[in-house]
């Protein structure tokens, strides 16, 4: 009774936590509240622990339990605090994989306890937990490796969908056999191996830049696996928490795809980026682009009344967040009104630009969302595009045949003057030309973003 009430409180804290996480002002508090819920859950489960004969847990096991928890805590904390800001998605992928692995292991151990009398629901939930957890584990590891840059391009091979299908059907078949009564541990191991392979093969063909979406999906997978484990071992807190994560994670995945204006199926099955990757690096656009030198750009910026900076993936690559902040400060000192226009999918993870600029201590009052800045863009004197490409590509609005057609963009071209900082005429993530660079009011400031920004800062200060 008391334990049940504790689990009810835990569920309420999780619900409240997730709700608060969804709004910028309360997000941090939400995370803390969910954390408190988790602590309560950890203590509430203690009275439920017992060995396989229903007796109290032996001292040796307590030792194992506590060692295991502490070990996890140390590893987790080290990972969480050592990781660089821009490597956060990798870290989340690993933690998610850990959760998936744990869910699969718990299911496998429970499977060893299955007897002839075990109910079908019990066995089926365990098998679900095992396969989903294992897919999430191996999928997350591949996602991690891709984000770390270990596979340059999406790995594709002939008939990949067909192979995945066969694998999946094989595991379903195996599951049916096991559910029908063959409780051999060998089958279970085979089942887990199939699931691990499935996770690897599912994620391998997906482009590295789509990994945030994949991680979000695997996150909701792990949630479902945990819920299935909860069914099997009859723990209500696991069921509720797992299901909440499963369903909210699904919505989140869809929201991420929507921000990129791509259907989720396209992300998961089309090896986006593969086709154009080769072209993108080699091809240099021709046409009359108008380069500009740093001194002239500094002049233009210094004389403007209002400057809007559009940061993109290139800013993160160049690690120039501190320089851009210095530039904004220097301009502000001269009485220029500076703000940052944030596109929802600029960079390579959702909120990438927010995190990046926050690291350099840019106040979030200075950040303006795409929908707010666009109507005002024609009243902006200089729009400074730093390492962004796709998110300011007018083709999204004008060219029906473009792969990014329909994606909402920041309408940089409407500003008085556009200055684009990038190293070359290289393409962005979508691998397409950008007509903005050829516009009359557009000037290109070539060079690495960090170096160019440093130069601009010095010039603006001096000028």
């Amino acid at each position: 009774m008391i334990i049940s009430l504790a689990f009810l409180i835990v569920s309420v804290l999780f619900i409240t936590g997730i709700k608060l996480l969804a709004s910028p002002k309360t997000a941090r508090r939400g995370n803390l509240i969910a954390g408190v819920g988790m602590l309560i859950a950890l203590f509430a489960v203690l009275p439920l622990l017992h060995d396989s004969h229903g007796n109290a847990v032996s001292l040796g096991k307590w030792f194992l339990l506590i060692t295991g928890i502490l070990l996890g805590l140390i590893v987790g904390a080290a990972g969480a605090y050592k990781v660089k800001m821009t490597a956060m998605p990798q870290m989340v992928a690993l933690f998610n994989g850990a959760g998936g692995g744990a869910a699969a292991l718990v299911a496998a151990i429970e499977f060893a306890h299955v007897t002839r009398d075990s109910s079908l629901t019990f066995v089926v939930s365990m098998l679900c937990a095992a396969i989903i957890g294992a897919v999430s584990l191996s999928g997350s590891i591949i996602a991690y490796l891709k984000l770390e840059g270990h596979f340059d391009k999406p790995v594709t091979y002939p008939a990949q969908q067909a192979i995945n299908c066969v694998l999946f059907l094989a595991s379903v078949l195996l599951a049916v056999v096991m559910a029908a009564g063959s409780h051999s541990m060998v089958l279970m191991l085979l089942f887990l191996a199939l699931a691990l392979a499935l996770g690897v093969l599912m994620v391998m063909p997906i482009g590295g830049a789509d990994m945030p979406v994949v991680i979000s999906l695997l996150n909701s997978f792990t949630g479902l696996a945990v819920a299935a484990d909860g069914f099997a071992i009859n723990n209500i807190a696991m069921i509720i928490a797992g299901t909440l994560v499963g369903s909210s994670g699904t919505i989140l995945t869809l929201a991420m795809c929507q921000a990129m204006n791509r259907p989720v199926t396209n992300v998961l099955f089309s090896a986006f980026g593969k086709v154009d990757a080769a072209a993108a690096s080699a091809d240099v656009a021709t046409g009359s682009v108008k380069p500009v030198q740093a001194d002239e750009a500094a002049l233009l910026l210094g004389m403007a009344a209002r400057v809007v900076i559009v940061p993109g993936y290139g800013l993160a690559v160049a690690q120039a967040q501190h320089q851009v902040r210095q530039l904004s400060d220097e301009l502000a000192k001269k009485g220029v009104e500076v703000s940052f226009a944030i596109h929802p999918v600029a960079g390579r993870m959702p909120g990438h630009m927010n995190v990046l600029l926050a690291e350099a201590d840019v106040s979030y009052d200075q950040l303006i969302e795409m929908d707010e800045i666009n109507p005002e863009m024609d009243r902006v004197d200089v729009c400074l595009v730093i390492g962004a490409n796709d998110v300011v590509n007018p083709a999204a609005r004008e060219d029906k045949s473009s792969p990014i057609y329909g994606m909402p963009i920041i309408e940089a071209e409407k500003a008085g003057t556009v200055i684009v900082m990038k190293r070359s005429m290289g393409k962005g993530f979508a691998g397409i030309e950008n007509a903005l660079f050829l516009r009359d009011n557009c000037r290109m400031l070539f060079g690495d973003a960090k170096a160019s920004l440093q130069e601009l800062v010095t010039l603006v200060k001096a000028g």
């Binding site: 194992l64 996150n219 994560v245 989140l252 959702p350």
Partner: protein, 93 residues
């Protein structure tokens, strides 16, 4: 109604609740939210603890121990990394 059925009701209600809770998140919160919910499914640690407590023989002990370590890393690492991320979203003085 059987307990199993009631649990199924709870499952379905939780699905809807999860959907509703997340509708319309600003995109800058997508990553922290993914990370925060990731920490919440770390509750699998409870499952790991129950499994390890009930383990018999070396293999089950080993598997249970690994599950506890993984679950614990998921919980603690998850909440900490989310907190670190969200810390960056502070309003300047």
């Amino acid at each position: 109604m059987t307990a199993e059925m009631l649990i199924f009701f709870i499952f379905v209600l939780s699905i809807f609740l999860g959907f509703e809770l997340i509708s319309k998140v600003p995109s800058m919160l997508h990553t922290p939210l993914m990370s925060g919910t990731n920490a919440i499914h770390g509750i699998i640690l409870l499952g790991g603890m129950l499994a390890l407590a009930a383990a018999d023989g070396f293999i089950q002990h080993a598997a249970g121990f690994v599950a506890v370590v993984l679950g614990s890393a998921n919980v603690f690492g998850g909440f900490m990394v989310t907190d670190r991320m969200l810390q960056m979203f502070k309003r300047k003085k």
